[in-house]
Symmetry: C2
Subunit: 372 residues, 2 copies
């Protein structure tokens, strides 16, 4: 039957029909009605991190990566030096975009199966005084590691360094309180745990550093200071906003608030995660990460050791039953990923596990147990 | 009544319900079904300009300006020199983003009420051999001027200069044939004359120059060469695509083809334009441009000379009757703009004229006649 597939991916993910139905209208991007949507959305976003006093939020067209690039371009001066704490693919991407735009960039490597180390950061910042900014991925979607945001922020604050946090896949699910965690910028996007559709990102910027950001970006489109200034003055986006994506996000945020905000969302995702983990364990699958550092966002599983396994067939077999899995992104080990986020609950996770069981059966594989 | 307003703007514009309904599904951005949508869309776009032999098309997340910036970043080497032919606000924006990214930029100014001059360009390119690229806005939305693309392209070809065309508001309405017009890049977006929703742009790049573009962009997100290479290899977008915007555009392109492609669309817009112009003339309004250089895309009108006129009240009065007008963007003269594009026909244009008539009545203004 032509039924929507459940997206078990780190985004785009499954959204509610209510969110999608919000896109059935056209909006004038210059009109007061649309400006009101933007203004309300920005207020709601600030509230999620309790950032009304300390931060502003600047929405930006494009995917989340556009907002990450924009944050670096806007915050880091041309002579700045960014230290990227790297335990996965998205960290490497952040380092690449920083280097490309001509900012000095040092990569501090960690194992992709482990959290980044605040102690190592402390030592590094003590040793290299030229570093101006630290970049952290809160939840490294490559493997799914929940990185220690608070501890990293504390180290940065002690050394007086700016902290840029990519909270793409954690925002609105994991707790982030701007009154406790000190950061200069924090980035997320519409199509992640807020359960909107993809097409825009947003960056929280600390008010105290905002003025100093003027004129730092070598990109016009990605200049968040310019975007902010224009938006404050006119209520409008500088360049054509993705109007339908914006109203869908506004509608998704309403549902987020109705559900009970971040604690309720985390509770649902945690239940999704537990349902998944237990079900997959019954089938013999082994998660890649130690549970203590696993965020309930996206779970990496070792591929089954059985020689009959290949990801393509496995994906197709689960897909034919209505579930879209996600490939692994690790370089050393064969894995696949399953997302716990989106407008789904433990029923869908149970069904997903069942689909995986039947996929194994299709392939003549008795157990998901890995080779190692 | 809560009825959708008609957007008489240069985009976002009124789209069909069929286009919007295409957004009622969620798509995995990694999934074969979505890759097929992207592939079909790219083929259809190339066909519109008859560019299958000579060009590739690279879609990009974000507003049209993101794609303009990406085209300059990707095509123009760091030591390049861009000449922007400037007869309006969008030309100035192109010059600004070129300068910001560190490319040498010369602006050749023309009156905003006139076309740019191919003869002046010819002279300039003869005099300054350091110029590597010329940038032209096909339809300058600031005033609505239809610039002489073919003649400019011929001059560029004769001098061996690269031509970058911003065809944002002309593409799919005005004829552009890549077999006859020689350009290195041509840029348009989803939310314009293809009548999709806003959220992505696309850039046609001449195959012959593609390889030379590798590594020129200092922006990762806006590197069209990298986007192209990845897409060719995997069928996927490099970073999360605005999936709902993409499927809406694919659906809009289907309707564009069913309508009869570019000639049919131009015919409808031309009829919209004529209905508008004649109706507004009856009310005393005077268009800003000479009709011979006016594109049937967006029309700038002089503001009425009556002292009781102000745009805000005028806008509100037309809006209350269901029509969203657009402010002027000229620096010297008071004007307003009315778009002829979107999923509307001459019926809507007649109704718009009637709304304008009633708006004048509300304001106690007898005629739209300008002061000058």
């Amino acid at each position: 039957m032509d039924r929507d597939k459940i997206l078990l991916t780190p985004g785009p993910l499954t959204t509610t029909l209510r969110t999608k139905i919000a896109m059935l209208r056209d909006w004038g991007s210059w009109d007061a009605d649309f400006n009101a949507v933007t203004a309300r959305l920005r207020q709601s976003l600030l509230k999620i991190i309790h950032g009304e006093e300390t931060h502003v939020v600047v929405p930006l067209q494009g995917s989340g990566t556009f907002s990450v690039e924009a944050a670096v371009a806007t915050l880091v001066p041309k002579g700045g030096h960014v230290l990227v704490m790297d335990n996965g693919a998205y960290c490497k991407r952040a380092a690449r975009l920083t280097t490309l735009m001509g900012r000095t960039c040092t990569v501090m490597g960690f194992d992709e199966a482990e959290q980044v180390s605040p102690a190592a950061l402390d030592e590094k910042l003590g040793a290299d005084k030229t570093i101006t900014h630290v970049m952290l991925i809160h939840c490294e979607t490559g493997a799914g590691v929940h990185n220690p945001l608070q501890a990293v922020a504390d180290v940065c604050a002690r050394h007086g360094k700016g902290l840029i946090v990519d909270a793409m896949s954690s925002f609105a699910a994991l707790p982030i309180d701007a009154r406790e965690v000190k950061f200069d910028a924090l980035i997320a996007a519409s199509g992640k745990c807020l359960e909107g559709v993809p097409g825009m990102g947003f960056v929280f910027i600390r008010k105290a550093i905002l003025d100093g950001c003027a004129g730092q970006s070598q990109s016009l489109a990605m200049d968040l200071h310019d975007q902010y200034t224009y938006m404050e003055k006119t209520g409008q986006w500088r360049f054509t906003p993705p109007t339908h994506v914006v109203v869908a996000l506004a509608e998704a945020v309403k549902q987020f608030e109705e559900e009970g905000g971040q604690p309720a969302r985390l509770a649902r995702y945690t239940k999704n995660y537990q349902t998944l983990i237990h079900g997959m364990a019954r089938l013999g699958f082994m998660p890649f990460l130690d549970p203590s550092i696993q965020a309930p966002i996206i779970v990496t599983f070792h591929a089954p050791g059985d020689a009959r396994y290949d990801f393509k067939s496995f994906y197709a077999a689960a897909r034919s039953r209505g579930f879209i899995l996600y490939p692994g992104k690790l370089t050393q080990v064969e894995t696949f990923r399953v997302g716990c986020i989106g407008a789904i609950g433990s029923d869908e996770m149970e069904q997903a596990v069942q689909a995986v069981a039947l996929a194994l059966e299709d392939m003549g594989i008795a157990s998901g147990e890995p080779a190692i």
